[in-house]
């Protein structure tokens, strides 16, 4: 048995297929364990902080190749400066990885389970959430003569960018809650960077005293890191949203003390519609109510971030006066001022 840095993709693909997987795109490192006569017995890859496409040939199971493979991959990741790693697998395989020391973050039957390795994982994130919640509760009690907050709710939004539509949802949530946690999706795969999105949200809700804006961390809606190779296309959206829902139920909501989650109805996006359906199915099982809020409409169409992006174009060049006038209908002043000052380039 030996490793090689020059793993032959021509042998990796058939092995993955044998194990019901396909080759993921964009992997940065692939390792293989070969038998003495040159057959590929096990393989696994790294992509960012994800371990992907891990497979052991059924003929070589029970030889502890998974332990060898993960040791190697974790060592390579460590040399690359990564302190935590994540891995998706089928729920019934999770126990095998737990036996190797990975921790189960969430399992969403029948689709997928998420495991992690190393420091700075879900526990560190929920610790920071608990800290935030404690401060928010104290502030509420100080302002309300010692009354404990009862209606503690959450909204999870990407806000790419923060529109009047978002503002409308947050206002409704704020009016119906003692404390609202507004989690902004952290993943940086949107037109606007996380920093810009977060800042626009913060400024856009600054006047709503019971709204607490926090980072969604690595765990709230990370659709784009969900490995598409791992499940069939039609189940992809369901699998990813199911994991997201389970993480919310098991980690985020308990840490914040959240009892209700607000969703915006989504008439335009099929993926968001699946997402909302999944949340409505899974959150109540964990004792969290789900309430859908209507979207703000303007000129007969919902005020959406995608409409704003359509007006802006991909380069974020400074728009004409005409376009700015259109944008002003869709964006709160705080977002537009922020873009003029920090985002648009000439």
């Amino acid at each position: 048995m030996y490793y090689t840095e020059q793993t032959e993709i021509s042998k990796v693909v058939p092995l993955l297929e044998k194990c019901g997987l396909s080759m993921p795109t964009g992997v940065e490192y692939t390792a293989g364990i070969y038998t003495d006569n040159g057959d590929l017995a096990a393989t696994g890859s790294l992509k960012g902080d994800m371990i992907q496409a891990v497979a052991v040939d059924p003929a070589h199971q029970g030889e502890d190749l998974m332990g060898k493979l993960l040791t190697h991959l974790i060592g390579v990741a460590s040399e690359r400066g990564l302190s935590s790693l994540h891995l998706f697998t089928k729920p019934d395989k999770a126990v095998q990885f737990q036996g190797l020391g990975l921790r189960l973050v969430a399992s969403a039957r029948p689709y997928a389970a998420l495991l992690e390795w190393g420091t700075g994982g879900i526990e560190q994130y929920t610790d920071s959430l608990r800290h935030t919640a404690k401060q928010a509760e104290s502030a509420f009690m100080a302002a309300h003569g010692g009354t404990v907050p009862a209606a503690v709710t959450a909204l999870v939004m990407n806000c790419n960018p923060f529109t009047r539509g978002h503002r409308y949802l947050v206002e409704q949530a704020s009016a119906a809650s003692d404390i609202v946690y507004l989690l902004v999706v952290e993943e940086d795969k949107s037109l606007f960077s996380f920093r810009d999105r977060f800042e626009m949200v913060r400024r856009g809700v600054a006047d709503l005293e019971n709204v607490v804006v926090i980072s969604g961390g690595r765990y709230a809606v990370s659709s784009l890191t969900f490995p598409s190779y791992f499940t069939r296309e039609e189940n992809l959206a369901k699998a990813h949203t199911a994991i997201d829902a389970e993480i919310f139920c098991r980690h985020i909501a308990p840490a914040l003390g959240v009892k209700r989650r607000f969703l915006g109805t989504e008439p335009l996006s099929a993926v968001t519609a699946v997402y909302n359906e999944t949340l409505k199915e899974r959150l109540p099982r964990a004792g969290i109510e789900v309430t859908e809020l209507d979207r703000l409409e303007k000129d007969g169409a919902p005020v959406s971030a995608s409409r704003v992006r359509g007006l802006l174009g991909e380069n974020l060049n400074r728009p004409s006066e005409e376009v700015l006038a259109e944008l002003a209908k869709l964006l709160p002043e705080t977002s537009l001022e922020y873009m003029k000052a920090e985002v648009f380039h000439d």
Binding site: S78, S83, G99, L100, G101, G118
Partner: protein, 90 residues
């Protein structure tokens, strides 16, 4: 003093994987331990790791440790190797 991130051991059966990283002075030992025999031997494994670290004069470090049923002498030697590498001595 642990100067750099280092590891020793494997995730294979009967072995233990020890990863050590520097920590601020005074922060103590942060030990993140998983084991296939956690219920029966968790406290003993932790004690062996902490004793070994103390014997090597390590007071501040972050450790991620995954045990697959290693015996005490294996645990000691893996911790010692990780520490030496973390100190830049090996």
């Amino acid at each position: 003093m642990i100067k750099q991130k280092a590891h020793a051991g494997t995730l294979e059966s009967s072995d233990i994987y020890v990863e050590i990283a520097p920590a601020e002075a005074g922060s103590g030992i942060a030990l993140n331990l998983t084991s296939v025999v956690m219920q029966q031997f968790g406290p003993e494994i932790e004690a062996v790791i902490r004793e070994t670290l103390a014997g090597l004069g390590v007071e501040d470090a972050v450790l991620t440790v995954s045990d697959r049923g290693a015996v005490d002498c294996t645990i000691r030697s893996r911790v010692e190797t990780a520490v030496c590498r973390g100190k830049g001595e090996a």
